[in-house]
Subunit: 253 residues, 6 copies
């Protein structure tokens, strides 16, 4: 793995045929026990591990993401959440992808760790793909899309998997943070199951009580560094695997 920001331009120029990874996180409330930078930490650390597997270039993480949605992030009413507008994140990613194409990069992976970023990532990929239809191969995935059912079933050993949308500041993210950045986790503040069920609609403005007061959407109880490692390994392996398949890479086995 190569931190692209640590290269000189000549070293970068010598490596443009490698996979380039753009991690995308957020600056968003993650309950009473996880830091605002949770998604960015996860995006960064997993990208670094995938990068190691693939000898890839890892770009600086986008540390601000698209607006937190009520039932996948708690919404924008929590202080500390610093949200971008949809078009802002779109043009930001569009510009970076455009510059990568101009520099001769041909294999770009956008690794997402914030659910709400998806639409902006897709739109940026479409816009760049339309402009350079045959010059670049763009791929996006999210770490949770690369964690298979077996792992999930092991991790949720004490209750059902609530679905990825509600897994905000909950068991999987908390475990990941215990593994990836343990000092940032307030283990004494892990929210339990409040039996929160997301309604089948979204309203603006939000009202008090729409979201559990602490900001978590599902239980984080039972989280552990070991589970975090299990998830991280699965995600890293899954992402690396799809890159190898997509680009016929012969590295890191």
């Amino acid at each position: 793995m190569v931190a692209a920001a640590n290269l000189t331009w000549q070293e970068f120029a010598d490596r443009v045929e490698r996979v380039v990874i753009l991690p995308v996180g957020s600056f968003e409330q993650h309950g009473p026990h996880l830091p605002l930078g949770t998604d960015s930490v996860i995006a960064t650390k997993l990208a670094e591990r995938v990068g190691k597997e693939l000898d890839a270039l890892v770009l600086p993480t986008l540390a601000y993401g698209y607006r937190s949605a009520p039932y996948s992030g708690g919404g924008s009413t929590f202080p500390g959440t610093l949200d971008l507008r949809l078009n802002t994140l779109t043009v930001l990613i569009q510009d970076i992808l455009t510059e990568l194409v101009a520099d001769g990069c041909t294999k770009v992976l956008i690794l997402n760790a914030h659910y709400e970023n998806t639409a902006a990532i897709m739109e940026a990929m479409y816009l760049v793909g339309e402009r350079f239809p045959s010059q670049v191969s763009l791929v996006t995935t999210a770490w949770w899309d690369c964690v298979d059912a077996e792992v999930l079933s092991d991790v949720f050993d004490d209750g059902p998997f609530p679905g990825w949308e509600l897994e905000h500041a909950a068991l999987t993210e908390t475990s990941l943070m215990m593994h990836l950045d343990p000092e940032s986790v307030h283990e004494d503040a892990l929210p339990g199951d409040e039996g929160f069920h997301a309604p089948n609609y979204i309203r603006i403005p939000l009202k008090p009580g729409d979201i559990p007061a602490h900001g978590g959407l599902a239980s984080a109880r039972g989280a552990s560094a070991a589970k975090g490692q299990r998830i991280a390994d699965a995600a890293v392996d899954g992402v690396a695997q799809l890159c190898r398949k997509e680009w016929g890479l012969d590295v890191g086995h």
Copy 2:
């Protein structure tokens, strides 16, 4: 239910305290058996029925939606799919909501029938909600979010529910169209189960074979007008119910 477009401006002015429904569809390939306007037909017809329940004003349907995504709509490579850019749909909805606020409307429901529209709808709601924080209550839902598990289990009587994303041009949409607009369905062309599984990533450009050649993502076999009616009834009831709850309405029981 009142088709708002059929009112004179004075009749409209007399009804601004009612719920206003904006249906949002798409113009998108729906396999070999359903028309390009499928989502718009569903959005329109269900909105009309909800409107009837609630004595609501139903606005003209947005008949063009956000870009079709590969694994929830087949992507933009199929001729006939006419996609809007993300920001275009956002500002379109933003303008309509802004004008409704200016006209004195206070209860607006955006009823979505195209999966990919979600982000643009949310962004428009945020932008308008920020500008008029106390003048309007904005609500959005999708018909599938209002169909409960029991109905789903009845409808999928011959195989597992593949998840809403893959339910593109598949059992539920086909059944709905057989119920709502039977003449537009090519019953002899219903795609069966090709065992398509969406990969855990998206690539741009798409390549041949990424999507089943006919454009459907899951089986439509077993679709029927009766199932369509079941789904429509559940969706209409669910949407009407949430509006009654949200706005304390006392209509249509």
Copy 3:
């Protein structure tokens, strides 16, 4: 005529060499006697008839148009008028045209029924024409531009033609609606001649009295379904004629 929304994508793909018609209307006050959707009804119905003449594909009508101007639509102060910003309508049309080009369509007619839409339609055509200079032929006209002097003189048998700008919710539009959608016309509420003359300037903000209180700009008295049919026939014939000439079509004679 083919309602494009009723086609499957394969049927659409088989017909891309045909003329494609995009009708553009508005959601705008039309006096005490005509519905808010008047322009969209007219755009839709005339497009369908032109489509029948030319075996053309007719797209879903754009049911929201550019801002109503004071002296051609009464302005935005009437409740019920739902106006788009200029750039919103521009990018909406631009996206649809761009997608038509991507799908292989080469002959596109934008049929306008709302005076104020003209600039946005033109700008969208320019933007798409610049991007695809040799791939598509784009044509726009409005129904009134295809009604000749003889018809006008017959229709205005009891007073002078006030000019197309003031013909908002007046004799021609009212007649057209009596012919095309008679149930939506409040015949007992037809405004007479208030002797309104548009001033030679426009002011923002508008003030009470700038526009006749009912929203019409000229007399609708004398309107009849027969006159509506005369106008519709002339417009349809005129539009079809120009398409035949422009694209060397050999259909519908």
Copy 4:
């Protein structure tokens, strides 16, 4: 009349209660006999004369306008025409109006001399009027809207008035330039009547022969400085008159 650009900021601050005039022109082909800056010259000179009548502040003329349209300006295929996009002119005017409001100006006249500018001027006025609903009175007119029928009939003493759209580089503009800026007129190159009739539709791309080769749309024969003076006097008087009426001014009689 005060050329605002010649004032110091303190002198400007002392005069914010006066009418402020923003002339808007274009940089557009005007046939074989008139210069590219024709519209800007007319906008500037007439604004100066109106300014003199009203003791108004006259701002620097916007010398680049919205895209020339085929049948009111010849279109963008003539070298020398430097066109702005629709949104560019809109935001340019929007910014200037916003700044005038911020500076305390309350009476602003936008004097237009290029037909195609109308939509951008209106949109800018709407946007600023919505943001500052009670702080400023915005008015727009064009010189031709202030020339009455009697003047027209005198000026067109040798043939019918072809309508303002076709009066591009024709009798009225040529006469105005002979009066306002005689040295810039090539009197030996005045185009005669080619019997050009604008078709009832617009196509993109334009084709050879759509526009008379020299760029004029109607005859300029018979143009004279005397007629130009007649038109200029009428326009100036008309514009000044409407300002006096609009703002209750008691100046310049």
Copy 5:
């Protein structure tokens, strides 16, 4: 020198191989002694002189510029300053450059006289250069970048040169205006040295006292028409020289 606005389109078409100069000014407070149009006057007059040297086409000056910054123009708190937003000036210049390319012009000089315009000019040049990578040569400079140290040392014969940023409405601009447009200078109001030193940071909002009350940032004492001529000569010579070098011109020696 040719004022491009005075040409017919055919004359323009015959001269597209010449250098085209776009002068960019501002409408900005310039202390108690200089007019709001100071930068535009300087841009225009110097461009005309450079144009004369090079037989170049001189376009109409952009008379409104990017926002005045506190420590190079006094900021936007002075009445009379009419500022454009950054993106507005960018797209305005982008459009003009794009049209010049479309017209076949290949050598374009953007001559800047307002410090804050730099970023918008550069961005516009980049955007146009990316779109037409081999069709046009774009050059920008500012008059002060072409005045060499020797001239500066002669001009500042009674005190040190305070740096170009602070030279707002100060010795050099005042001298230039005394030479170029003497009647617009209030010689009795020249601000002296208030010992103003720009802080090493900028704050928004500005507070009273951040800028000297009269709007000048450095002393204008000692300004003279003779010094203005010296500066103008140096600037014109410098600009003409770089154009000759850049484009291998063989004119005006």
Copy 6:
């Protein structure tokens, strides 16, 4: 100093009255000896030290900046430089500032380490300041603006200071990196003085030889960690000092 990303939302909410620092860097070629992330490293490390002085919250660094300019960064022709468009960086910063205001933060410092970012930072500050005129105090500076003449003269002990624009990848930045991130510096590749003098104009497209081939603009010879420490200390002290003055802080003395 508090890394804001390490806080929970509640901890953030408890600290909104503190100074918030947004460091802004770039991803830009920095010669043969410094990494692409140089500006971001400097912005981050100095912000952390200022944050420590002031007990401030330090936000994640913006790691991508505005386009590299030829004579202050080498321009965009070097592989590895990943530039944002001007409006992209503007809206990115605008969104973050807007969210900070919404969260109740009142003292925001934008600390810049990439020369070309200045205009976008200013524009974002203006836009947010206009929207929230009395809710927030926004301040921006660059590290070099806080290094005084005495330090500069000590650091340039073997040759003249070439000016901040040319100090790209040169003596000061190299020294800073030797001090702040020594492992990333290729000390054997320090460029010497090529006698490069920036021309007095900028051309697009750039041509070979416009910039020294290695990407540095001035000599880095003589750089040392000790000088870097001197510069860092001065910058940190200067920035902290202006914050104390601006906001009347009583911390860190």
